[in-house]
């Protein structure tokens, strides 16, 4: 089966919002083993929407649409799809009841516009919306299927997870399952070089590397009749790759580095504290993004000024004078200092030059020193991240935070070794 994505919304056409819906739906289709060759965006214009829908169905059997299900006069996706399939619009009692309940709860009076959201093309399959007033729907006819979803990403994704994926599952002959191995500390080209033969010798599961922001991801994807069979194919391959790459693998199927850190700290009953200069709170921000971080994180100090490095973290004046704020010694004393101050098991520190200003020949923009201090493992790392690219201040700060979180994972490993 061939699918196409058609997103409706003038905000997308004007570039006021980025089309994250298309990327999300594309990943979901890949997961369902449904082919996708084209994505399109059109504005809230009935004529052009009609034309785009016809073109989409000339190339595809399934068209996933987002947007244009709202209550206002220019929300016409449903009507346009009804016309394409030659269906009349009629009120869907179930959706009507839900709308009335929604407005009753909110203590508001629905306008006729609002109630329009309960009208559906005859014979449509209706999908409830748990996060908004616009239901989703599917219309099937002459071997073609249109699936309509609301535009706001959190409404659309929640509806897809709960109702659209199960609906689509029956149209997909095979199941595609992926697991993702996440790597920090080895570049994409080196990963590719080390695994080339192994990747070439595997067709199912396939192994594909992706360069992401300050990390590399290896996606291992298997195709099979059932999920169980697919996972059975993936398992040993993931294990072999971890064996081959070693410590640069920080997790499998984890959301991100911060989640891996919080999870492993919890498992080991350890706590971490952060002392940040050039990252300015980015590391503590990332750690505390994870629900329940309070079990493993109590304190972070963002010491931008030398005085604070000295007074709060106890970095010696001599160190600051002799070696400067951006130095191995300062990073070391910052990590020790925050560990002492917080009473945490692991102290991690970052000091560096994020730029664009402040660089010198000896200490260029992008130079970062990272320190970690713990009972059984202490270390300072010098790291120089590229500063060529546009947006490099953000890039330098983010890669520094990646390296710092990686040091925390190393400390966790070493502190559990008996």
């Amino acid at each position: 089966m061939v699918a196409e994505i058609l997103c409706v919304g003038t905000e997308l056409l004007l570039g006021d919002i980025v089309n994250t819906n298309a990327a999300y739906l594309a990943r979901q289709l890949a997961g369902l083993g449904i082919d996708l060759y084209t994505q399109s965006v059109v504005g809230d214009n009935p004529e052009r929407l009609k034309e785009s829908l016809a073109i989409a169905f000339s190339r595809a059997d399934l068209v996933l649409m987002t947007g244009g299900l709202g209550p206002t006069y220019d929300d016409l996706t449903k009507e346009t799809v009804a016309a394409y399939f030659g269906r009349n619009m009629r009120r869907d009692e179930h959706s009507y009841q839900r709308l009335m309940e929604y407005f009753a709860k909110a203590g508001k009076e629905p306008t006729p516009n609002n109630l329009k959201q309960a009208d559906m093309p005859e014979g449509a399959v209706v999908f409830d919306n748990d996060n908004g007033t616009a239901p989703g729907l599917a219309v099937e006819g002459n071997g073609k299927i249109a699936v309509l979803m609301p535009g706001p990403p959190y409404e659309m994704t929640a509806m897809f997870e709960a109702r659209i994926r199960p609906y689509l599952q029956k149209f997909s002959e095979k199941v595609l399952v992926s697991r993702t191995i996440r790597i920090v500390g080895m570049g994409e080209s080196e990963v590719e070089y080390r695994l080339r033969d192994y990747m070439l010798s595997h067709l199912n599961p396939t192994i594909a590397p992706y360069a992401k922001q300050s990390e590399v991801q290896l996606r291992v994807t298997a195709s099979a009749k059932t999920e169980e069979q697919a996972y059975a194919l993936i398992g040993p391959v993931v294990a072999e790759i971890q064996e081959m790459l070693g410590d640069v693998v920080y997790g499998v199927d984890v959301e991100n580095m911060e989640q891996a850190v919080v999870q492993q700290l919890k498992e080991k009953g350890l706590k971490v504290a952060t002392a940040e200069s050039c990252t300015g709170g980015l590391i503590s921000k990332r750690i505390t993004e994870i629900p329940g971080a309070s079990d493993v994180f109590e304190c972070g100090v963002c010491s931008y000024a030398n005085r604070i490095k000295h007074e709060l973290l106890g970095v010696s004046d001599q160190t600051l004078e002799q070696f400067g704020a951006v130095s191995e010694q300062t990073a070391k004393e910052m990590a020790e200092g925050i560990r002492r101050l917080s009473g945490a098991d692991i102290g991690v520190s970052v000091t560096g030059i994020a730029g664009p200003g402040g660089g010198t020949p000896e200490k260029p923009v992008g130079l970062v020193y990272l320190g970690v201090s713990s009972e059984r493992y202490s270390k300072v790392v010098r790291y120089l991240s590229g500063s060529k690219k546009a947006g490099s201040r953000e890039h330098i700060r983010y890669s520094a935070s990646q390296q710092a979180l990686k040091l925390v994972l190393e400390a966790i490993r070493e502190n559990q070794k008996k």
Copy 2:
């Protein structure tokens, strides 16, 4: 003139990356006063690319394309466009020289694939790439124009700014210029309600509100023969709107809240320090994202644990016992404490419940207390942000940081009043 955007890349089709290029180019076209009705994405497949290009030109005079200019065998955008215009490919000497210089500098040997990047359709206008090896190009014929740009966003945007916009300017009859008024502390519906008559009474410039993450933006857009004329039309309208809305306007044409804060602190020669609980460093991270933040920011403390609130920030044990960590009193003492500890002119604090856990009937998830302390202005604000949405932990933390930065702007204003 009608334009269309056609992005080429299998990574986009698979949803491995979000299509920020389309959003960027859509905004640029709007700025140039060139109409855009459709955006599309296709994979690196010559047949489907050829078909999509034909469809695009059946609807538009100008097609902006990104991606597929790389050195590998599946990068075929140039060749496909050449075929559409009936042109042969031939080496562009200027691009060839630049490539050779690039590889000489890098001390690498170019492969035949690399040199393929210097081949252009006959008669193409070539745009140098300052951030990569793939030049951009434009092909004109029979009233149609194709503009090809590299896929990596920082290469594409830099090329657009420097070379593509000037090239396109000559095709646009009018100039569109926008200024953006940024608002925190008033919802979109209230802004719309207050300005409805004013907005309806203005056709040039037009005034359009947009709800963004924890803020509202008003875009004022004028169309004229020259930029000067357009800005002359916009000026008085922006001033009147600021007059009408008052303090909720935190800036005009500023990048974001953090930039406005750093800029105004610099202008007034003031410094700020942060004490964060539930935001976990997000506020200091946002402030220090701005280059030169070190002039106005020296210190931030992320006090997740009560012990740290007490020991570092001097929040009294009695306050913590009697009112709890999430309370007006704690926020007040945190702001005073960080101001004392840092010696900054303005201390700002946040304590709250970001969830998903930890909520109670009295103190639900989403409840946040914010404090600001300064010589002439101190204040504590109770703020309850919606926690229904998916991803609400992030939402709660981000809106709390918006409110905190807004308090800093208030304090800056009050401390300059003589």
